[in-house]
């Protein structure tokens, strides 16, 4: 693969999957700076791994795999990610707003969803992010490498957990 081909393929991934990958980062990590940082690292790995792409799977599946695998090793040198940080800042600030406009409402809803996802295990966070992106169980199975029916089992469990957490926020 020459430089021009590499650039062309990268631009294709970048244009088509940039937003989706960014949302996966958001589902996995909760601080804006860290989300941006992980996103950059994923893009760097996509760029560096471009030559290894043999076309065995679709470019989208491949890009998602790179994203998920990068997330798995992200922050390996730091201590466990502090789940509470976002809970303590963004969410509280937004709920303090007396008369929220549409933008604020969207932000609050996103924060509630993000917070609920943050209560999940790392693996579950990645799986639910892919599901929320609209991927099928088969597609998730192809990315993560677990059987499709097991993805289904996991999603059911994750939904239950999400539902419980969201219910708590609704009651607040």
């Amino acid at each position: 693969m020459n430089v021009q081909q590499k650039e062309k393929l990268f631009l294709e991934v970048y244009t088509d999957y940039r937003l989706r990958i960014y949302r996966i980062c958001y589902g996995y990590i909760y601080e804006k700076e860290q989300v941006d940082d992980l996103f950059q690292e994923i893009m760097l790995n996509i760029w560096n791994s471009m030559e290894k792409f043999k076309g065995d799977s679709s470019i989208g599946t491949w890009a998602y795999r790179v994203a998920v695998n990068t997330a798995l090793l992200y922050n390996r040198k730091t201590k466990q990610y502090k789940k509470v940080s976002r809970e303590a800042t963004e969410y509280n600030t937004l709920t303090d707003v007396g008369c929220p406009d549409d933008h604020k409402l969207k932000e609050t809803r996103l924060n509630q969803l993000g917070l609920s996802i943050s209560k999940l295990d790392k693996q579950d966070r990645l799986i639910i992010s892919l599901i929320l992106e609209g991927l099928t169980y088969d597609q998730v199975s192809e990315i993560v490498g677990i059987k499709a029916n097991y993805v289904g089992v996991k999603v059911t469990r994750i939904k239950k957990q999400l539902y419980e957490t969201l219910k708590k926020y609704d009651n607040e």
Partner: protein, 207 residues
């Protein structure tokens, strides 16, 4: 804010819609940054090779200019250099580099490969490191045999207890202590950084 009012437990469409509202990052400079990084990585690698060649060349030149070097010193220095080079080579070969991983494979396989590499890295500081320290001690002791002057071997002054055994013991203990400290630091890092990661990756690997 009632997020659940539009959601039943069996459907995620509503959450999917909210999910789609996540704002994107301003990443217009990403491609330019990547190209720059790619360029610098290649440049740094070339610089490393040049630096190693320069160090080795200067060491050989310096040794060749020194006079009165005994055979023991040559043997001792050779053992030290050879064992260091072999250990560094082994270390670099088994060191965990994320760049060695194939990010485009399924996560379960990726996790398995990462775990294997991490365990191999942990293994560096077992028997290979112990052998390295032993060879360093042996090399240093052989070197001192040729370096300690005869006057020190046979004390002609009452104030100098010049038993060469002291030199050997002191330096052997110093090297062994340095090795032990290095080992302690590495073990601490393994416990703090590597083992939790292995544990986390194992969840993906098992499924």
């Amino acid at each position: 804010m009632k997020l659940l009012k539009n959601m039943t437990m069996n459907e995620l469409d509503y959450l999917g819609k909210i999910w789609g509202e996540i704002p994107a990052t301003d990443s217009t400079q990403t491609i330019a940054k990547l190209k720059k990084l790619d360029f610098f990585q290649k440049r740094i690698n070339r610089l490393k090779v040049v630096a190693i060649i320069l160090i080795l060349t200067s060491l050989i030149i310096t040794l060749s200019f020194l006079s009165n070097i005994t055979l023991e010193v040559y043997i001792g220095v050779s053992i030290i250099i050879a064992s260091t080079a072999i250990f560094i080579g082994y270390y670099l070969k088994n060191q965990f580099y994320t760049s060695k991983l194939d990010y485009g494979v399924e996560s379960a396989r990726f996790a398995h490969e990462a775990i294997t590499m991490l365990r191999r890295q942990n293994g560096i500081f077992g028997l290979p490191f112990l052998m390295f320290i032993l060879f360093m001690i042996a090399g240093a002791n052989i070197m001192f045999l040729g370096m300690i002057p005869d006057s020190a071997m046979t004390p002609d002054s009452e104030s100098v207890p010049a038993n060469p055994l002291y030199f050997h013991i002191i330096f052997s203990v110093l090297i062994a202590l340095s090795g032990f400290l290095g080992l302690l630091v590495r073990r601490w890092r393994i416990r703090r950084e590597v083992n939790p990661l292995i544990e986390e990756l194992s969840r993906f690997d098992k499924e």
